[in-house]
């Protein structure tokens, strides 16, 4: 049970993120939902890559040769960088929307619906 805790957290975070994206009316809260969803995926990849007692794959003065594969960490690093770029772009869009429309409520941002 204890070892499954990360996966349980992933499920909870995913539900939380999707709920925020679907049900929140504030644009910024939707963006936070996207960020939570991203963290859920990152946690999943890290949890998959975790090995009990494994050490970092650096051969100089390694205490043991029981090493973890570095690929998941590399994936998560890339994914975090992409997430930062995504958040920055989404936030800058929200700033422009707030300036032009004077609101961040998605029910009121509906110039394009016909």
């Amino acid at each position: 049970m204890f070892l499954n805790l990360p996966y349980v957290t992933v499920v909870l975070l995913t539900c939380l993120g999707i709920a925020a994206i679907l049900f929140k009316r504030n644009l910024l809260k939707i963006l936070l939902g996207i960020n939570i969803l991203e963290s859920a995926v990152n946690l999943l990849i890290i949890a998959i890559g975790y090995r009990e007692g494994g050490v970092a794959p650096i051969y100089t003065l390694a205490p043991s040769t029981n090493m973890v594969l570095p690929t998941p960490q590399a994936l998560v690093l890339t994914s975090i960088v992409i997430g930062v770029a995504t958040s920055a772009l989404l936030l800058s869009f929200s700033i422009i929307i707030y300036r032009k429309y004077g609101t961040v409520n998605v029910n009121l941002i509906r110039e394009l619906r016909e």
């Binding site: 996207i34 594969l69 890339t78 772009l89 989404l90 929307i97 032009k100 394009l112």
Partner: protein, 524 residues
Amino acid sequence: MISDFIWANSPILLVAIPLIGAFICPLIGKVSTDVRRAWVMGIVTLTTAIAAIVVYRVYTEGIVTYVFGAAASGMTVPMDSGGIPIRIIFTIDPMGALMEIITAVVGFSVIFYSLSADARRSGLEQYYTLFLLLIASVMGMVSTGDLFNFFVFIEISSMACAGLIAYRIERGRAVEAAIKYFIISTVAAIFLLFAIAILYGEYNALNIAMIASRMQFTPLDKVALVLIVVALLAKCGAVPMHFWTPDSYGLAPSAVTAMLVVASQASLYGLFRFVFTMYNLTFTAGMMGWTLIIIGVLSMVIGVTMAIPQKDVKRLMAFHAVSQTGYMLLGVGVGLAVLGNASLMDQFGRMAMEGGIFHIINHAMYKGLLFLTAGAIIYRVGTRDLNKLGGLGHQMKWTMVFFIIGALAIAGVPPLNGFASKLMIYESVYLFNPLLSIIAMVVSILTLASFVKVFHSIFMGPQRPEFSEVKEAPRPMLIAMGILAFVVILFGLIPVQVVSTLISPAAHALIDRAGYIAAVLGGV
């Protein structure tokens, strides 16, 4: 010497050249406007030339692999890795090569068009940076043989697309369209990453060929398949997730819209690649095929019925783009549904797939052409409302000719390319299920009706006094439209040769999963 280098490294140069060109563009732009134009044009010409080399290599040598950081570019599996392709690999088969042709031709013409159409705007350094970045990411998406790499390229393309859609703020409306598109594509990309994490956890590999060879069709694989399919259908604008298409296609600059069509089709390519190469003949193939068919038919019908009442010319064309995506899903879906049955496959399955794939390239050409003509009209007249336009046939004769070519091609009138691919879809789908084929024909008729209305309200009628100053579009814009119109007519006149040289190998590459795996893992 240098030609050998380019020959051997052509797959990576295809991504590297537009990528480097994109980030040097703002610096070059400081020198002068003309230098920046020459730089952008030079980069896109070079990319097109490299794409030609890669495509030539694929059609002469078979599947081309390129391994990053290896001593030799063909060394996919290192000696001491125990048979696991640990490096990042580009795998380009005829299907990927076909998508590269589309990206190169459309990319070249829209950049040429945009240099004239967008010349009066500000912030062009960033604009062309994003544009070249979009070309680089689409080239990457269709070349890569690595799941995580695909995710990275799809995110780059989403960011570039969103930036380009929002480029003209239009009192916030363009930004609204962009944020809608970007939220959809970010969530889709996160779902895709979820699927990648599941597959990685199961098979300890990110290489598509490696996962395909180890695929065991566990319930977890099905979860991953659903996540992948949902994510990529949302990205390509199929019906339940189509609502971003009219907004973003409608409000982006026209040259960008033509490129957005290609970017959505690269997602469609990703969908076909994963479904056919990674999953292929599972016990879910029939169900998966029917899912694609149903979504395709819904896209066709809903897209065209939503298009008819539209008054904004680009929004109308965007709904037609949703409808045309349905044809591709229908054709390839029928192929997928009968994949397990060899006799049905020979009878019509292969032809349906060829029709669907042929429609991808045809759609990119004629839809790009239509969006460019709409852009030329907006450029000269300044309005996009069909009720305010009229009588432009007197002044914009060439634009009218190109519009007629595009409109007849999308409606599937012979001898243009839309007819060739739609006929293949009708014939083969009729053998599978007559009802689907009849729906496809009805949608085609509605498309024709809708474009007759558009043509009439833009070009026909007496010359209007408020448009008496309107001139023909500038020559570079006409040349760009001419390139696409030439391809539309050429593919319509020699469809048999095009199908046998380009389309059949692409369809075969999707079906032939063992060939793809063997090209990477060396005959496993």
